[in-house]
Symmetry: D2
Subunit: 350 residues, 4 copies
């Protein structure tokens, strides 16, 4: 057991949402972490158990308001607040804190783009300039030095992990990349909405936010940065009956006579030493249920029947690698801890 | 009530599978039909209620073997037998029968292609030449004259309904059509397979038969016939946790400067007088649960963010418009009955 | 086809809820009904298709406010409004209307009991005296003469169908009847509530409103009326991941040396001529999925291993026999139509 | 990190089933365990990843036949084989092994009862006499000394945890205890059976093995042992759409004027120092999803509306506390390790 005095003291803002609960599930098993504060303005004064009964019995601190947190006793803060509410809160936090923001507030580097997609001018533009986009596998060096990490969106994580290396190495065309993504319902959060009711979701599927989903520009920003030119993609999100999981089925054109084996080999090289990204052998298709509850991303590469084209499948748990797990991974990097600490558990199946 | 003597006498071969059960559900409400024989070799001697308790209380005939059916008392036969077993059975049936085959046995007109995709030479090639591919909305004239109708596959139905008119009218490119399809589990039938277990399917999604699904060549055959040239498509099937339903998300390139409005208008013209196909107004996305239990196909057309491209969504119930409902629709056409007879009911939602 | 002029003109108040949608699904197939008005105060001005896309294409009237309905053109009104809001609205309706109320507002005959369980004094006590509790199989004579029918609750319907005859005939003890009921989520309506979210319901089960569910007193009222003495029961509700369906597992003590065969025989006699209630043969257990979408109730009777005790299982679709289907059945009785009109369809399985 | 040489060497027989997979998930996080052999006769020669893709990447040994295991290098063996096949295999194992059997083969101490319920005479009666029934919370002393532990059934675990202390302390009547249990589908294992298909299970519930489930006599054996007299109970199992979880709703009569508060207090005293059993405060109902993936049992006690009666709810994850988790817990006790080692993780929700 780690000496309690040496443990990192962690606060979670917005602990009453699903990403907050998932942070708790993971951090409770993190040997170097002590959870010292949990905020949730509307549930302040309640125990976490009354909000999340599955987290009872662990001796977690009571929920408080954001303002009640004593920042002197905190080293790292995770922000799991709704989009748009985070900027001003983070701007007021003391500078000694390491901050990992799970909202979309600091993901888009272009302030005009932020304004366009989120409907209001950015409220903390200087902070935005400081923020590091934390897709860990590609940004370790920057994350290590960062004070503020913008944790990537769930869809963007699943799409970028295979696409960034393939684009960077010139293996696929930048034109007409099609990302058909299927997501579980927890991505919509715990807010009471008709569209998230059991009866509206079970036993069916439908596309939503077609050609207008906010994760589209986030994906494009990072793919463009990877190749140094503007890349525009099709990103189409579908809502389906599962609590957790994202499958991105990505349709690409190979460039310069490259083959599917080239693509798979390149991804294998890229991720060979990674703990959390696994490229499956030929013929094996990834399934979301094989990463449920884990921080893993599984990638499969297949030949299309259309000549010169390939299909790349990528699966993650949207609450883990797509949110809280990657946030813990980023914390580990920021603190110089082994990157997989607290994230080693296998998926829950069945 | 229709005079019993005037009713069409129907037999169902393979009544113990899901398409058989669905035929019964629909035909029990068909005012011009009398069900006179139900076969299921392995369950012969049992009541239909013991196989499908939800069909108890309707006074249906007991299950018999295929050989026990008295064909003199039958006018129309539906074949719901597994692929590959149907050819020889149908070849032996008396010529006075109208036959609607729900298996894949007579769908592929090219015998070499059949051999390649189904792994054995066709066992009734003359019958194959006689068979009419029964996607009703496009083949009414032929179905009306047919003795043997090959009822289309579920995926091909959902893909062809929007694609055939768009291709025929030259509104989209033949190249690089991408069909990302998501299906419910009943498409796999009632056979006891590990991959169809509740625990293996719930709360997850995965692609399967990638670039090798037998419905690929079926789609290509019909799209090629529509334009008079070979068309090759990407067709990628996914299995997801719902009993019924298929969503095809189809990514296309518009040709000759056409717009999304042109596509929607063309589909509206095509299907304006159809009972079962509805093109949704701009901005409205189809959902599989809105066609559950009905013979409807809903189609939505959306602009892609990629210039010059469109996304077409199409939903059906795989057991109704994708199988038994279309089979009844074909029977109505073959018999000169109003095409919607027995198929008017609204979807079951929630 | 029925002459349009002879059809019954129906209005539905509260058409934007699940019971409203289900009334529409059923009434659209009712040969003697014309739907002339649909109200939904908050959605007035919209088409029903924008609220329930699965009901598009049927030419249904636009949604209006309750006040906008022209009652001169209406013969029958179904009230699908939330509990507590119905009394004053119904009290203002013209006397020529036949009214079937699907809320709980007129189910409890004792006004004190109503006050206790619903938290406010009854707002239309004279109407309450006029209302007939419409569990059709037991109340046909009264329903036939009624102007206002209080349509029973879903749980009470599933419990009373087997219990009333068994109690009336003295086959089971009145003491310690235990009703363990499992319900789908549509019983909670379409209101956006955290507890009804997909993520909160899927892949789990829990009891709720333990010993305090409002359907408890409703069941007790009717069982007491059946035997002429106060009967108190255990009624325990559980919420589980299905959209539709209720299973009541009822644990009883047989009286006077009666056997399970006696119980089954008594229920068989009781329901022998009923269209919608079926007593299953020995050894066959009912399943909710066998009544999905149908107006049926299936009942199974089993010996307990505890001597002298029996277990009675009863399943219904909570939105059909437990709400809208029974409402249509009551309408048929009130109008002198064949009772099963519009309700003949088989269950949807799988 | 523990010195590898000091780790306990574990073999799993029957590693290709769900309890095998769950043992692996848990043991992979157990700091004192090294997994040295995995058997699965029909899948011998394959990697575990080809059987359970979610367990890939952990460097686990390849699957072998039972006979191929080198027992000299093994300290502890878990048996996850189907009922009836285990007795002869275990009888042949060397005596130095600690054995935890997850099948039902050694649970019933009465050999006649075994013969009656399992349909054949016991094939290893001497071993049966040696076996300890391992409901850990009640049998620590015996388990500590045991060489062969019969791991309890899932339903019996959920029922006994609250019932044994209540009966032992004379707080409830032995007569007419009613256990209405609802289970997820993984309890039926990974065998391909029609009744376990997604389409047959989703969106519904039904009772099964009514008054004839093999877990009935197991429960009765242990309750009888607790009070020293024959206790007979009603135990009714229901199958519902969830992969994991059991909820037992237990209806009891309180004895000698005891109150619900007495019952709750007694359970609190009993389990106060336990890691895995938690008695919820008044008014809080347990839900299966709050123990998913954890070794916890949550218990809630409620007053019945029927005077003198109480309702006790108990939830577990059938694959963890109901199988593999309790097996690991027993191993820890047998080896003198801290009982919660490898079992500390919180439940996975949502």
């Amino acid at each position: 057991m780690t000496n309690e005095a040496k443990k990192v003291r962690v606060a979670i803002l917005g602990a009453s949402g699903y990403t907050g609960a998932e942070l708790l599930r993971l951090l409770l098993r993190h040997p170097m972490v002590r959870i010292v504060a949990l905020s949730a303005d509307r549930r302040a004064g309640e125990s976490i158990e009354s909000v999340f009964p599955h987290l009872g019995g662990f001796g977690l601190p009571q929920l408080v308001t954001h303002d009640q947190v004593d920042w002197n006793g905190v080293d790292v803060v995770f922000c799991g607040l709704p989009h748009g509410t985070t900027q001003e809160i983070i701007a007021r936090l003391p500078r000694h804190l390491k901050i990992i923001d799970l909202s979309a507030d600091f993901r888009l580097t272009d302030l005009d783009s932020y304004n366009k997609w989120y409907g209001h001018p950015h409220r903390a533009p200087e902070l935005q300039r400081e923020a590091v986009y934390g897709l860990t596998e590609f940004k370790r060096a920057e994350v290590r030095e960062a004070r503020l990490v913008a944790n990537p969106g769930c869809y963007p994580t699943s799409a970028q992990l295979p696409l960034v290396p393939l684009l960077k190495q010139g293996l696929i065309d930048e034109e007409a990349i099609i990302i058909d993504a299927k997501s579980g319902v927890s991505g919509a959060g715990r807010a009471a909405k008709e569209s998230s009711l059991y009866t509206e979701v079970t036993e069916g599927i439908h596309p939503y936010s077609i050609a207008s989903h906010r994760h589209g520009p986030e994906i494009e920003q990072e793919l463009s940065a990877a190749v140094g030119r503007d890349v525009q993609v099709n990103f189409t999100a579908h809502l389906m009956p599962m609590s957790r999981g994202i499958l991105s089925s990505i349709y690409v054109k190979m460039s310069n006579g490259h083959s599917v084996e080239d693509l798979r080999a390149a991804l294998n090289r890229q991720f060979h030493d990674e703990t959390f990204v696994r490229v499956l052998p030929q013929g094996q298709a990834p399934a979301t249920r094989h990463v449920r509850g884990s921080n893993n991303c599984l990638i499969g590469v297949f030949a299309d029947r259309l000549p010169g084209r390939a299909i790349v499948f990528s699966v993650i748990d949207n609450l883990v690698k797509g949110a809280s797990g990657q946030a813990v991974q980023n914390m580990n990097v920021m603190l110089g801890l082994p990157e997989a600490t607290g994230l080693e558990q296998a998926a829950l199946f069945p």
